[in-house]
């Protein structure tokens, strides 16, 4: 495991920059991670990011893109406008949770 310094904080990350310890996250860190991804967080972004984080903390697994579209209150099309390089991955990264495991 490697560490990275984001916005002055030292956190544990994987090879792709996903936080490994959700408890090291706070909203300011989320803003910093989003900046690195070229995203200025709006309320709509936060709605998705917070839903994503809560789901993972509650259930231990990340919602699929379809569930995200149904449950977060932001339709799938808009998800792609908000997070152009893949909503599930990007929202997870900003939310400070480990990379969602693709199904096999």
């Amino acid at each position: 495991m490697t560490t990275a310094t984001i916005g002055g904080k030292t956190v544990e990350v994987d090879g792709e920059g996903f936080l490994q310890k959700p408890e090291q996250w706070d909203e300011e860190l989320g803003v910093e991670i989003a900046k690195e991804l070229g995203i200025e967080l709006t309320d709509r972004h936060w709605q998705v990011v917070k839903y994503m984080r809560q789901q993972v903390l509650d259930t231990g697994s990340a919602p699929s893109i379809r569930s995200l579209g149904k449950q977060s209150g932001v339709p799938i099309k808009e998800l792609y406008q908000l997070f152009p390089k893949g909503p599930a991955k990007m929202a997870a990264k900003i939310a400070g949770i480990p990379k969602p495991h693709g199904c096999i």
Partner: protein
């Protein structure tokens, strides 16, 4: 009296009924235990065979058996649609309003394809130039379209993960390459695999091996394509971020979901109706006396018959522990094992689990094989075609398959380091 109820008489439910009846032969004989299985019809489809129907390798009748004949006579069979499970009442409600009470419940109701979930897919063109092959009816409808295809863009689209048998889409494009070569029109057919994954498979090493095979066979691949809609009349796949892929003939692997009754069963499943299941013990999260096996689980392993087979050994053991009020064995490791048809009478075999990638090597006997892992061979193809016999005669009856264990073996496999020039395991 202990009442064990199994929902679903597909691959996993049938295996469990056969295993439990063997384990509790005496108790079932004396009436101390009662095993009951529920399914909605009496047609057991050999699903791996559906892949071969569109190419005319199998006749439609080659994949159809009956359910009752695969179950032991001592096991009760109720033919009814399940309406819901009420975990707090330990009771299953059926469509005709009758109920079944249980002490132990095993959910084995599999997965289903839901093409309606994708905008436009079942609209104009469905059944004419847009098909699927994951159901008996779908595979049969596709066969004449493949026979009569005159050339153009053949697109295989994986709409969304998870799907059952995640290698079937690869097999379909490999077999299409061989099929149109034999028909003498391969030069008129562009074959493209369109997938939401970032490679040909879910795991990196296998993804690159299959990626190379696709290239050798002149098959294109479009990755990270999340299908939002299908425009039949104009022959276009449209992604959520407005990318498009043109098709003349579309073979879709539609969105998969768990059984519908899961939605009406409080606490049982997630929003795609997958049953929330412990990844190692196979106990449900909703209540200790409910277990889940096969495609119906929300586990991060492949939805495959081989997985159901490996799970069944562990589940049988854990049902035993549960009945004796002992702690459960957290023994399931996500083991999956699949033959992948690559066309021209060859196949590749892969073996992997939750943590370990598909690795090259020999299977099932270390260093001896006779089957080769992650490499094309004729013998693997023989293995794939023999799977039909194995399915009906060994898998469903719950017999041990020589050398093949529930937990994945690392002996005889080359590890990742060796694959890149290091030392064998």
């Amino acid at each position: 009296m202990k009442r064990i109820v199994i929902l679903g008489a597909g691959t996993a439910g049938t295996i469990m009924a056969n295993r439990l009846r063997k384990k509790y032969k005496r108790e079932v004989g004396s009436g101390d235990f009662q095993i009951t299985v529920v399914d909605l019809d009496d047609r057991h489809i050999y699903q791996p065979g559906l892949l071969f129907i569109p190419f005319g390798t199998y006749e439609p009748s080659d994949t159809i058996g009956t359910r009752r004949s695969e179950l032991p006579a001592e096991v009760g069979y109720i033919q009814q649609r399940i309406d819901r499970v009420m975990p707090e009442e330990n009771r299953v409600y059926l469509e005709d309003d009758s109920v079944i009470d249980y002490d132990v419940l095993i959910v084995a109701t599999g997965s289903r394809v839901v093409p309606e979930e994708t905008e436009g897919l079942t609209g104009a063109g469905w059944g004419e130039k847009m098909f699927e092959f994951y159901t008996q009816e779908g595979a049969e409808a596709l066969a004449p379209a493949m026979r009569e295809f005159k050339g153009g863009n053949l697109v295989l689209n994986v709409t969304e993960m998870p799907i059952k048998c995640p290698i079937a889409p690869l097999e379909f494009v490999f077999l299409s390459d061989a099929f149109f070569t034999k028909r003498g029109i391969r030069d008129k057919v562009n074959i493209t695999l369109v997938t939401p994954l970032d490679g040909a498979f879910t795991r990196p090493l296998a993804a690159s091996a299959f990626g190379n095979l696709l290239e050798e066979k002149g098959i294109s691949i479009v990755t990270e394509f999340n299908t939002g809609a299908v425009d039949g009349p104009n022959g276009k796949l449209i992604s959520y971020d407005d990318k498009t892929v043109d098709f003349d003939l579309l073979v879709s692997v539609p969105v998969h979901m768990g059984a519908e009754f899961v939605e009406r069963s409080p606490g049982l499943g997630d929003d795609m109706n997958w049953v929330l299941t412990d990844p190692n013990t196979l106990q449900s999260k909703v209540k200790p006396n409910i277990f889940c096996i096969g495609d119906a689980t929300n586990l991060a392993t492949s939805k495959a018959g081989s997985v159901a087979h490996f799970e069944s050994e562990i589940l049988e053991e854990n049902i035993g522990h549960f009945i004796k009020e002992e702690p459960l064995a957290p023994a399931f490791d996500g083991h999956a094992n699949c033959f992948i048809e690559t066309g021209f009478n060859k196949a590749v075999l892969i073996d992997f689990n939750y943590d370990v990638e598909p690795l090259p090597g020999k299977f099932p006997f270390p260093h001896v094989g006779p089957l080769s892992l992650l490499r094309e061979s004729r013998l693997n193809h023989v293995g794939k075609m023999a799977f039909k016999w194995v399915y009906w005669n060994m898998l469903l009856p719950g017999r041990e398959i020589p050398g093949v264990k529930a937990q994945m073996a690392l002996r005889g496999k080359h590890n990742l380091a060796q694959y890149t020039g290091g030392q064998p395991v």
